[in-house]
Symmetry: C3
Subunit: 340 residues, 3 copies
Amino acid sequence: MQFTADQIAALVNGRVQGDGSVTVSTLAKIEEGHPGAISFLANPKYTHFIYETGSSVVLVKDDFVPERPVSATLIHVADPYATIARLLEMVAQMSAPHPVGVEQPSHISPDVTIHPDCYVGAFAYVGKGASIGEGVKIYPQAYIGDGVEIGEGSVIYPGVRIYHGCKIGKRCIIHAGAVIGADGFGFAPVDGIYHKIPQLGIVEIADDVEIGANTTIDRATMGATRIHRGVKLDNLIQIAHNVEVGENTVMAAQAGVAGSTKVGESCMIGGQVGLAGHITVGRDAQIGAQAGIPRNVKPGSRLLGSPAVDIGEYARQVVYVKNLERLNSRVAALEKAAKK
Amino acid sequence: MQFTADQIAALVNGRVQGDGSVTVSTLAKIEEGHPGAISFLANPKYTHFIYETGSSVVLVKDDFVPERPVSATLIHVADPYATIARLLEMVAQMSAPHPVGVEQPSHISPDVTIHPDCYVGAFAYVGKGASIGEGVKIYPQAYIGDGVEIGEGSVIYPGVRIYHGCKIGKRCIIHAGAVIGADGFGFAPVDGIYHKIPQLGIVEIADDVEIGANTTIDRATMGATRIHRGVKLDNLIQIAHNVEVGENTVMAAQAGVAGSTKVGESCMIGGQVGLAGHITVGRDAQIGAQAGIPRNVKPGSRLLGSPAVDIGEYARQVVYVKNLERLNSRVAALEKAAKK
Amino acid sequence: MQFTADQIAALVNGRVQGDGSVTVSTLAKIEEGHPGAISFLANPKYTHFIYETGSSVVLVKDDFVPERPVSATLIHVADPYATIARLLEMVAQMSAPHPVGVEQPSHISPDVTIHPDCYVGAFAYVGKGASIGEGVKIYPQAYIGDGVEIGEGSVIYPGVRIYHGCKIGKRCIIHAGAVIGADGFGFAPVDGIYHKIPQLGIVEIADDVEIGANTTIDRATMGATRIHRGVKLDNLIQIAHNVEVGENTVMAAQAGVAGSTKVGESCMIGGQVGLAGHITVGRDAQIGAQAGIPRNVKPGSRLLGSPAVDIGEYARQVVYVKNLERLNSRVAALEKAAKK
């Protein structure tokens, strides 16, 4: 889908400055702008980027006056941040399929509470006592276990499995094949044989969480495995029992978090990262791809490597290891000289 | 769920020594006890732990007499080990849903052998000639291929896929989204183009195996990929074709085992570990998280790192790498001194 | 399944030289031959292997005359390469189940184009406007989104999910639980809150591609995530949005490719490898298991390690790190000597 600056201005009740016929089809940060993208300027700290951005259109405040020429078309609005969010929503609304109603055959147990404005696809299963909020979309072949609660506006894609008793917040998106609430990996070894420890807890997912395809989040042994508001998990991630993931933390694909670990707010966890069990990762930590985290992480840390170290130290380690051949030669030369 | 020591004693026909009103809600090893947990003392070697355990309740032998004060409430029983196992089973029985009967619509081919005391959920598919033992639970949307055999008491969670001809033992638990018996990754490259090698074997899973959500176990090229009795596999694990995993081995999430590798009995494989193909891992080996195993592993080894080395050597390597900056300075100082 | 050399010769219209009663049950490269395997000799460069191969049977050209004794039984055919391909196909035909027709209940939207010679299993869902080519097999519980196109002869195993608008080529095989076309992981952070960037593109999979169980391939933000002809992806692989994978590239299980990365033709990517986003991997690159690739890779590179280096350098690094204890001792000895 493409929109002209004029069309966007009409949609958001804005005022165009510049060429209203330029078209955009995606969003970019103002500092990473490129032709065909729309950006926005909300924070005055970023104002200097507007003179060099490659984006075709930038949303700016009503009263913004450029001090130098700007190549992008500007659209003046009352609140650029709120406007971009509304725009994103509108585009998503336009681009996604909008299935409605209850397709047959589907299985909805008689004592389910389900808002009339929901989509339930064919071959979906909703267990006893489940509660499904307004506007929820349950795609074909999804499984909603007994007593599961799903908040309004959430989207459950095909083949998602939510085990009994788990809770999903509002406006969540759970992609195909994700499994929420399977048993945690808990066994009591007795004479070398592993006896299952019943996993009696649940998974609680707060509002505005997105969960990637085939990601797995295990139920707690007791209590709840908690995914807090605004968390975004990519595909094929493993979240073990009793883990907690703080608000607005993002995790890239194939990362894994072992049992009982607490990840703070606003962290960024790279792809294929592994976090050991029973540790705490402080807020705002950034952990690079493939890192291995064996112990607690301080807030704001930037780590890389396995076992992970500070990102600067990691870069130096890599160089030192690369130069080991030369270091060995230097030592050999010293030894030779010493022998004389 | 919570139980008092008195309630437990009544359930297991035991004798309480100490405060019968303390409550427990989980299980812990005696050496890792904590308030709210029940432990047991079966092996006399562990007797000293009873005086320091944090657990609220400990199951002990009929004739056990403490030599010093014990803060935990004791419950005397004939066989603490058998009792704890029975308790776990009772709790699991109480906490899990107990679906029964055959829900409609489900697809059961006419020549299927299925015990009358089974659960088959809606939208489940059971292929021709499959054989389903007593008490098996097949949850909604599971796929049981042609000729598959499932032993008594096994639980197949929603959306599990078992390809044709595979065999599942008794009392197995297979979690949602697991795929058993997809084709092994076998191709014959001819002039740069990969031609599929038919994967004609099966997967054989023995008794008492638990398989995590979205784990994949490929069928053998010929013969069988074998998961032996008591193995516990976590989520998102990859087991390639012709692999064998020995009895009572446990594997944490996201581990991967390449083709034809044999893992011995009672091994512990950490999360995100990778085992190369065509190797043998000896019994009782312990391999730490994220390790990479390129070659055979001796029984009882404890390995870490990629490529993995003995855990002690690994710890030393990490320290030496950390100190490379200082080592370089020391060499530079020697060089400077030598130049004088 | 086992075949004698005589049976195979009859099937492919060949001429037996040697013992026609030997049996084979699998395929091997001539240089990796073993008893029970059939190999073929198409490229004269490999002729010397025929005198030492362990294979029981070798397909050779009509006019091939061995210069020395050969222990394998030879089958002479016009075109050994074409014959082996045909043989593989015949075996696959014989060994796989051959479901046909449309099982009920399944959900096929009225405006779907579907060739009469297709299999659609029970509980499968085919969305509006989808187009399904001749001979396609859609197994039970698969989900084919609105507008999806599937080329002739492709096999979609149980529980595969293909989101709306994606395109699958001819003769593809997609294993159970794979998810094609879920949203790419794209968010615009605004004041620490992540706003979803609509993922408006698709996934395009060319002909002769095989995709493993529970692998995930995300749709592009705009345009298409592309998997080119002949690519073979193992299980549990993550392919992020806007990635391109070149012709005849193979990737082992649990590898991950981050957003917008281009992988060239004929690459071999090992298990658990991670490729960073926005990089280019040149054709014919070989990347060993667990490697981490943070930047562009030249064609033909052979890399290992994280961060990855040339495979020879990697081997040296491993040795130098192993010897760090000794290097430290040598430096300490020099320091001691210098102090005298």
